[in-house]
Point group: none
Chain length 191, copies 4
């Protein structure tokens, strides 16, 4: 029982540390040895637990599909919530960026592109599309809004564009309102 506990604790620690590394340094920039070193265990354990480096990555990034959104509350509040989450929340475990943006750093590998798409679709587009209800090109509008949020996040943290890098939530609020209204054809609260 104590053993079981240790095993699970080690697994969890490996996942946690690897998330940070993968997010900060990308898949290629992270070595199994580094991750194992962070936790203080032998690299071979990683292979026992996760089969391969890729397996570790999959499981580490899979954990990030959960925290996406809490779909309670009215749909109108979604844009503001999502922006806060994608752009302003500090994902400490993911080197300060939202997991999706962190994953982009490893998008060279084909299978990670798939994972990415799946998470974007299930985690974001599905939730957002309710907002576009009533428009003919509902899905396109939804994706265009998601693209905007994603682009902002990328310019802010991955590229480090001067103004956005320092912008606060208050700075963006009014523009969120106008763009959301432009795309969804309805007013959204942004406070």
């Amino acid at each position: 029982m104590a053993h079981k506990r240790d095993r699970e604790a080690t697994r969890a620690k490996l996942l946690e540390c690897s998330r940070l590394r993968f997010a900060r340094d990308g898949y290629d920039g992270t070595s199994v040895r580094d991750v194992a070193g962070d936790v203080g265990v032998d690299p071979a354990l990683v292979f026992r637990y996760f089969g391969s480096k890729s397996g570790l990555f999959t499981e580490a990034m899979a954990g990030s599909s959960e925290p996406v959104i809490l779909p309670d509350g009215p749909v109108e509040e979604l844009p503001a919530k999502l922006m806060r989450q994608l752009v302003f929340e500090d994902w400490a475990e993911y080197a300060g960026e939202h997991p999706l943006i962190a994953m982009l750093r490893s998008a060279g590998h084909e299978d990670m592109k798939d994972r990415l798409r799946q998470q974007v679709c299930e985690g974001y587009l599905d939730v957002l599309s309710d907002l576009a209800e009533g428009n003919e090109d509902k899905n396109l509008r939804t994706e265009l809004f998601a693209a905007w949020l994603l682009g902002i996040g990328i310019l802010r943290t991955a590229v480090g564009t001067p103004t956005l890098a320092k912008a606060t939530e208050d700075d963006l609020r009014p523009h969120l309102a106008t763009v959301a209204e432009a795309l969804f054809g309805r007013e959204v609260p942004v406070d």
Copy 2:
């Protein structure tokens, strides 16, 4: 046939092939061996010509700062032009994506982040900011619009979101109009 031993031709071919590889597989996913193999020369030649793998990358990606649109037309036409370039133009040499999006794939390394920022700022923001003239938060608006274009490009090609991946220029035109107007506070032609 006339040029078997032609330094410039070989150099150019190396640059061309490396662009494709770097864009498709990222910096880490591309090996000098691969690039040299594509051209059919010995890997050592790459080092002779470019000093290092990093030198090759720099020079390969430097070519991508030129093709930015020069503002010889009226500023109002810029949004449409930029969208065509960023989202719809087929950059064959860069694996079908715009070079900037391709470069994101290698943004794990700190110095490439710098290069990226510089290109975004000088190549795009500087040109676009004229459009936001007259607004108090001119720079923020400019960056927000650029973020949108970039996000669209990423969802389209890097993530492969279902609707955007298949969208045509005509599909996006009306939305471009409303969003640009929302951000810049002026009408822009999108034809």
Copy 3:
């Protein structure tokens, strides 16, 4: 047989074989592959254990600072002892030469020159200087005598001068007596 996977044994064997190679072929003339091949292990192991080729060299040659004679006998006997050690002892692990002479073969690199100087000073000059006690230019005399021993060793093994290469200890004994007396101003036993 009992030890197939024995870290310390493998380490020791690597050190032993590398000593021989470094001594015989010099630093540049020795490749990590060669050393690993001698022991029958993968070259990567060398880097795991010693970090780098230079680390291997350092550790291999560090073993050579110990075997210097400790002055437990009377100082008068030092010259004879040192000559035996420097000139006539067969350092099998170091390709038959005294480690110091072997190290000279790698003295092209600046840091190895430093290591060499330190070993000569601490290992030999410090011990010998007692013999020159009472003379005004004590240190110079000490170094001049050390120079002689070193020179003999070099001509014998590194250059292979005809007479010295075949000389026995008995052949040199009388000359050791006269030169030591000339430099130190006192009689030294040479039997």
Copy 4:
């Protein structure tokens, strides 16, 4: 005729520059490219002129057998002359050291050991042996004296022992007298 002259001039310059490099950095530490670069010609010329890197080395170091000694004057003056040459003369072309000591830096390669031996024997031992005339072990005495000079040179420049590195000719003069007398059994002038 002009061509001939250029060719010879380039050859000479290559030899000169390579001497310096070989002496300073050793055989392995010197690249054909470096040498050619010093002179400002294409590396391929080295191969046209000298066949190989080794050929260049041979010819470069062969030039050093000439300046050895001027066997005019009485034999008694030889020790002082040789010491001046081996220990105190500044061989600018050979990085400040006597060619023989410089060559030791490349003594890892077997064929250089041979070259070294030949030069020591023909250039030094043959000349010196006259001084030992009349002693039974004439050759041994000669080699022992040569060993001393060589050892002094090595400690001075290659090892950098504290006192010898700064010693002047005057400092060594008296010891030269006593040691030479001890070995050759006759007085030698040292002024």
